[in-house]
Amino acid sequence: MDSIVFLIMRRMRAPLILLIVSYAVAIMGLVLIPGRDAAGNPWPMGFFHAFYVVAYTSTTIGFGEIPYPFTDAQRLWVTFTIFGTVAIWLYAAGALIGLLQDTTFSRALTERRFRARVQRLRDPFYLVCGYGQTGGALVRALADRHQRAVVIDLDPERISLLLLANLREYVPALTADARRPANLLAAGLDHPRCLGIVALTDVNETNLKIAIAAKLLRPGLRVVCRSDSPEVAADMASFGTDHIYDPFDTFALHMAIAIEAPCLTLLRDWLIGESGAPLPEPQCPPAKGLWILCGFGRFGRAMYRHLKGQGLELVIVEADPHLTDLPKDGVILGHGTGAATLERAHIQRAVALVAGTDNDATNLSIIMTARQLNRDLFVVARKNHLDNGELFRRVGAQVVMHPSMIITDGIRVRLTLPLLWEFITLSRFQDTGWACELISRLCGLLDTQIPQVWQIAVEANQAPALCAGDEHTANLTLRRLVTDPRDRTRALPVIPLLLEHNDERQLLPDLDQRVRKGDQVLFCGRDGARAVMDWTLNDPHVLHYLVTGEDAPAGWVWRRLAQRRRRRGIAAPGGEG
């Protein structure tokens, strides 16, 4: 049993004993006092009747004088009884109601319900610590892909927001301090179905503590952490945190790739975007010329590091001259909001500007001033708050960087489509033409919408038809999977992106490539193509048709008939294809 029952029992002990004693005294009195029946004969009241009278009197129901009208002595006693027992009854009921409203008690009740719900989870789930902008977006993305999650956050308001969020999957949530290992355990850290823990709180130290607790309490578990500081990130990496996300560094790397290979960036944006949304426009940040970096905080530093590697000419505009690791040359002191400062940074001949302070108003002001001085600037803006999205859209920034969205996208892809992550990593090592060629192939395949990207595992539970082990699945190729099951002469609008066989990964596999049990394949295709492909994966008859081109007889009787017909030498009726 747990604490709640004991809490109730302990707190109800005094009211209950008082109730029992007062009832006993009242009953004793009624039994002792002689009564009379309707005819006036002596009628002693029994315990049963006495209990009945006290029960309805004390609860203020008051049926009257049952079974016979009371004598005056009885009435006197009942008068005392009423005042005594009714007051005590109300006290006991009040104590119980007060207990239910008690914050300690209701917290214990909520925790217990949460624990039970987490224990009852039968699907694999992720434990998300921190339901801020990043955590909220991640949980929504997971729920949209029918991936379960459990949330803990310190702030009760955020938890109430989650309850209002109207997600596709039920997400158990608790207001609790994730720094305490007991809370992590309650949220299912040691649950056999827990796939991993994602630490996304605003505080680096909290994320670090979560990572340590997870690694110690459940050594094999996947740990994903957010960290804005390189020191904390290094600390996390030192004890084997699986994935560490620094939003600024991730974005700066993304920017550096965009400068070097715009096609690759476009490809990435297409593949990780929300399927069904319109395709984003390609962006080509200038690869030559002067870049102005306003603000040299965490974001500015990461941008500086990555852009310097691209061989660009950089000027930093920073108000605080005492910042550590500020470069020796190319630094203009001052706020970028003033025209004078920007002119000293040679805004006239600059090709691009990065507004990267941690204040949205400052960033917007910098961009507005800069665009007045130089119309053709390529502007990269750091957006700190999600609410200001509309303002950044109006101000005309080409690229808007939002830290929480970057982390969300990264973690979402990592958790729901690990093969896509592999694909993006591998694609960085291809030459520029490779990505552009794939882009044009995708253009031919898609309308104007972001493609759907999904991965399948050739396992008995996900693709039963492919694992049947009969002659049709023996020499199965990718071509069969991307054939339209309604008409085998047509192909589905699908491109296989990655084939994983025995830890060996093949980018853009050939359609004649064999598919064997245990393989994993990443596809991208037009919206809806996945549902059609699922047909092939699940239905052995559809697969039979795709391989042989004929509709096989399905039931036992029809199979027997077909065998007999074949033995007699009559050709089996061909499929309609």
Binding site: M1, L7, M9, R10, R13, I20, A24, G46, F47, F48
Partner: protein
């Protein structure tokens, strides 16, 4: 001396002694089994049960269980008594009294276990 322990022990032992007093006598002779004694047994047992609420230890749980058993037996006996007196034309018959007393004797066993557990716990504490 802990006054809480005194009250606790008092009620548990009183539940046993009253119960014993009610059960003793010819099993089917209503004259040997007083209704006031029975009333006192029920009230004291109820109080003893509530006193045992909220003890998280293993012995505490067992003590509560024995009390619940006693209450169950005694309420069954009370029901039989009420039905016999008010529900039947014959009133209290020797057979009915025997039923009531044997149910109360069951409660007596539970109360004995209760006291034995109490004694054991006391000895464990004095170790």
């Amino acid at each position: 001396m802990n006054p809480e322990k005194v009250v606790f022990g008092f009620f548990i032992v009183l539940a046993l002694t009253l119960n014993f007093g009610f059960v003793i006598g010819d099993i089917d002779n209503p004259a040997h089994h007083d209704k006031w004694d029975f009333f006192a047994v029920i009230v004291v047992n109820l109080i003893a049960t509530v006193l045992k609420f909220g003890d998280r230890s293993q012995v505490g749980a067992l003590l509560l269980a024995t009390s619940l058993v006693a209450i169950l037996q005694l309420s069954a006996a009370a029901l039989v008594w009420i039905i016999a007196v008010y529900g039947t034309a014959a009133g209290m018959a020797p057979g009915t009294m025997a039923t009531i007393v044997s149910l109360a004797a069951g409660a007596l066993v539970a109360n004995v276990i209760s006291v034995v557990l109490l004694v054991i716990e006391t000895f464990l504490l004095r170790r």
